[in-house]
Symmetry: C2
Subunit: 461 residues, 2 copies
C-alpha cells in the first residue's frame, strides 16, 4: 500500500480519538480578549505543547507580553519546509442567552438528514481547523515515523484580540520560524462541496472611541439640551462615517483602492455567487454596502467600516431620564489592496475630533492593524495544494477572495518573506463569532485527509 493510502486509512481508523482530543481542546475557555480568561488561554497553550510532544514535535509555550505562543518543530524531513500557523484563542460568547447549549461543552449533533456537526465555541474558528492539520501530522508520523516536509507549527493566543504579541515574536524568531511556505487553516470552503484557497485577504484597523461630556450623569429634565449629550455626539460621528450611497466618508479612505482587475473580475463571475442566498441565509435581502457594487465585491475587494459595538447611558430594563457623562463605540475597518491601516486610523481620529464640541473630550484606543494581502497564485505551492484538495474533494479547488482579515499573513510576508497558502474547511454557515458555532464533521474528517495529501504533495520536490 502506498504511504498516502496507509496514512488516510490510519486517519479513518482513529477518528473517534481525534474527536476526543478536539473536544478536550474545546472545553478550555480561551477567550483572549477578556483578562478573566488568561489562565484558560495558558492552559490551552500547554495542552497543545503536550499534544505536539506526543506526536513527536519539539514543542514549547513561549512567553509574550500577552498570551503564550506555542512553537513546535518536527525535523524528521529535510527538503521543503513549511510553517503552519493557527490560533488557540476564541471569540467571547456573549450574548450567552442565544446559545442553545454551553459553548464550552462540545458535542456532536446529528441532524434529521444524518449530517453531523461539532458544536462549541471555537469548533470552527479555529480549534477544529487547527486540529485538521495536527491530526494529519499525527497520522503521517504514526504510519511512516516522519513527516513529508520539515514542519514548524506556530499557534497564537491573541488572534481574536488584536494579536499584539505576534509581530515582535516573528521578528525575534525569524530564523527559527522562516520556511519555504506558510500554511494556514482558518478560512472557508467555497461551498460545502468545493474546496478553496484564499488568495486575497482584507486588512483590518480596529478603533475604540470614547466621548466624555459632563463630569457626572445628569438629569435630562434639568440639563436636557443645554448640556452636551455624548450619545448624541457619538451618534453623529458614527452616522457621518457613511454617505447616502454607502461610501465611507473619511477623507483619503479610498486611497490605494483600485478597481478590481478585469481578469480577476472575470474569474469571480464564473463562481456564480448567489448574493440573495448569501444574505438570505441570515435573514437579510438588501445589500448594505456601496451602491453600484456587487455583494461579492463588498465582501472581498472593497473596504468597509463597521460599528462593532456602541453604548452609552441607561441600557437596563425600563427607562432612566439621564444624560450620561460618557459614551463609546468600537469601530473596525476592513482594508483592501494598498490601504494603510495607520493612515486610516489617523484620518478616522481627525474625522471624529472635528465633531466633538470644545467642552467635551474624545479618547481613542487602538485594537489591531493589518494590511490587506494578495498571494501569487501561479507559485508551485499553490498549485500543489490545489491538486491535493481537488483530489480529496473530487472537484477542482478554486482560488477565491475573502472578507476576513488574518493579519499574520501580512506579517509573514513582511517579516519572513513568506507566501501563505490559506486552505480551510469551514463553511459560511458555521456561525463563527456568533452563538451556536459549529464545524461540520465532514469538514473535520476531510480536512484532516486534505492536509495529509497536501503534506505529501509538498514533500515531492
Amino acid at each position: 500500500m502506498p504511504e498516502l493510502e496507509a496514512v488516510l486509512a490510519n486517519i479513518e481508523s482513529n477518528l473517534d480519538a481525534a474527536y476526543e482530543r478536539l473536544f478536550a481542546l474545546l472545553r478550555i475557555r480561551s477567550i483572549s480578549t477578556d483578562p478573566a480568561y488568561a489562565q484558560e488561554c495558558r492552559a490551552c497553550a500547554d495542552w497543545h505543547v503536550k499534544d505536539l510532544r506526543e506526536i513527536g514535535f519539539e514543542a514549547e509555550a513561549r512567553e509574550t507580553q500577552g498570551h503564550p505562543i506555542v512553537v513546535g518543530h518536527d525535523r524528521s524531513s529535510t527538503g521543503r519546509s513549511v510553517l503552519f500557523y493557527g490560533h488557540y484563542d476564541v471569540q467571547p460568547v456573549d450574548p450567552l442567552g442565544l446559545w442553545d447549549h454551553d459553548p464550552f461543552e462540545p458535542f456532536i449533533e446529528t441532524r434529521p438528514d444524518g449530517s453531523r456537526a461539532i458544536r462549541a465555541r471555537g469548533a470552527s474558528d479555529d480549534k477544529g481547523q487547527v486540529m485538521t492539520f495536527i491530526e494529519a501530522c499525527r497520522a503521517w508520523k504514526a504510519v511512516t515515523g516522519k513527516l513529508p516536509v520539515a514542519t514548524t507549527i506556530l499557534l497564537e493566543g491573541e488572534e481574536e484580540s488584536g494579536g499584539a504579541s505576534l509581530p515582535g515574536f516573528l521578528e525575534t524568531h525569524a530564523d527559527e520560524l522562516r520556511a519555504d511556505i506558510g500554511l494556514i487553516c482558518d478560512t472557508n470552503m467555497w461551498d460545502a462541496k468545493t474546496p478553496a484557497i484564499q488568495t486575497m485577504l482584507r486588512g483590518l484597523c480596529g478603533e475604540e472611541i470614547t466621548i466624555h461630556a459632563a463630569d457626572r450623569d445628569l438629569h435630562s429634565g434639568f440639563y436636557g439640551s443645554a448640556a452636551a449629550n455624548p450619545n448624541r455626539i457619538l451618534a453623529r460621528i458614527l452616522s457621518d462615517l457613511h454617505d447616502a450611497d454607502g461610501r465611507v466618508t473619511i477623507p483619503g479612505f479610498y486611497d490605494g483602492v483600485p478597481e478590481l482587475p478585469d481578469a480577476l473580475r472575470a474569474q469571480w463571475d464564473t463562481l456564480n455567487f448567489d448574493a440573495a442566498a448569501f444574505l438570505g441565509a441570515v435573514g437579510l435581502s438588501v445589500p448594505a454596502g456601496e451602491r453600484g457594487r456587487s455583494v461579492l465585491e463588498m465582501v472581498w475587494s472593497r473596504p468597509t467600516c463597521e460599528i462593532n459595538g456602541m453604548g452609552g447611558g441607561y441600557q437596563g430594563a425600563g427607562f432612566k431620564t439621564v444624560i450620561p457623562s460618557v459614551a463609546s463605540a468600537k469601530v473596525s475597518f476592513r482594508l483592501v489592496f494598498d490601504q494603510d491601516p495607520h493612515a486610516i486610523r489617523k484620518a478616522f481620529r481627525e474625522f471624529a475630533r472635528k465633531r466633538v464640541p470644545s467642552d467635551c473630550k474624545v479618547e481613542f484606543a487602538e485594537h489591531g492593524a493589518g494590511r490587506a494581502i494578495r498571494f501569487p497564485i501561479e507559485a508551485d505551492a499553490f498549485a500543489k495544494t490545489r491538486d491535493a484538495l481537488s483530489a480529496e474533494w473530487g472537484r477542482p479547488a478554486v482560488f477565491i477572495g475573502g472578507g476576513g482579515s488574518i493579519p499574520v499573513t501580512a506579517e509573514l510576508k513582511q517579516k519572513l518573506g513568506m507566501d501563505v497558502v490559506l486552505a480551510g474547511f469551514a463553511l459560511d454557515d458555521d456561525r463563527i463569532h456568533s452563538p451556536n458555532e459549529k464545524y461540520e464533521l465532514e469538514s473535520f474528517r476531510r480536512g484532516v485527509r486534505s492536509w495529509a495529501r497536501v503534506l505529501q504533495e509538498l514533500g515531492q520536490h
Copy 2:
C-alpha cells in the same frame, strides 16, 4: 405662644427623630423601573402607611397594576382642602462604581465648612422632600391635635418609571382625592438661599426603539458592508434627530411651541441666571441646544430630545469584530406649552421607520407621556405659599420655570381640575438621578418649617 411658633419649636426639638425616620425610608431600595425591586417598592409603601397612621392619618396602600399607591387622609379640619403628592420610588443606581458609598445606607456628611447633607439615593428625589411635608404635619398634629387644612397625602411608586398606574387611579378615585389645591415637593430652590415656586413644567414623551437586522450576530469580516448593521441604522436615526443648529428635525415637533411671552421673558431676565456657572458646575461650557436661544430658555421653555441610552454589539473589554443582530436606544422628549406627547410619539416613529431598510425591523416601546403645564400664579394659594416661603427664608420667593417633568401635575389639572403649587427645597447640585445624590440638611430642616408655615397660611381662609 402662637400656634405656629409652637409648631416650629416642636420641629426643632424633634429633628433627630425626623432624620431617623427619613433614614429608615432611604434604606428601602425602591427602584421602580427594575422588576427585581418590586418587593422593596411594596415595603416602601407599607412603611409610609404605618408612619401616616402613627401621625393620625387614615392611610392605606392601594393596589395597582404596578406598584401600590399610598393614600392617607386627615379630616381634622374642614374648610380649605389640600392634596399633597409625592413619590416613594427612586431612580436606578448604576453605575454603582461611581458612588462613594452604598446608595442605600444613608448618612449625614459634614463638610469642611460645617455644612451638612444627607447622602443616599432618594435623599433629594423624592424621599427627603416628601418627608418635609409629612414631618410638618406630624408637628402640627403633635402641638394642636389637628392640621390647619383638610389634608390628603398621595404617594406614588412609579414616578421614575413612567407612572402608568396613576392616571387611571386618579380617575377612579377622583371624588376621594379632589381638593382645593395640590401641593408637590419635588422641585428645586432657585438657589441655596432663594425659595421658588415652579409655575411651568415641561412634559415628557419617552420612547424605546429597537432595530433588528440579521437573525444572528455576524462576523464583520465575512458580512461586513454587505449585511445591514443595526448600529449604523440606529446611529443614523439618532444623529438625524437634530440639525446642525441643534433643532429637532422631527416633522411637526415644534407645533404648539410659541415664543416666550415678553412679560415672562422680562421676569426671567431679572433672575440673572448664570449660564456659565450652570454648565461649569458639571464640567461643561458650550450650550448644546438650539442656536440663538439662552440656556434658561433651553432648560425651561424649549422642547428637547435626548438620547438617554443606546447600545448594540460588543461593549465588553477588548474588541469583537461582530455585526450585531440588534441595537436599541431610549429617547426622551421634554415638551413645552401645547405640544402633544402622542402626536410626537407618532411623528418620531414615522421618522425612524423611514430610515430603516426594508429587510430590517424596528420596534418601539412607550415609556410615559405627559403634557407640559403652566399654573395661574395670580391665584390665592400661590400668593399664600409665596408669603410663607418668603417668611421662612427671609427673602422673596420667586416664580420660576423648570426643565423637569412631573406628569402628575397635568393629570391633576385634567382629571381633577386642580392647580398645583410646586414648592421644593432641592438644590441644583443635589445630583438627583446621578451617583452620590444628596439633600442638604438645611433643605430638610427649613423645608419642614416651610410647609408648617404654608399649612398655616392656607388654613387662614
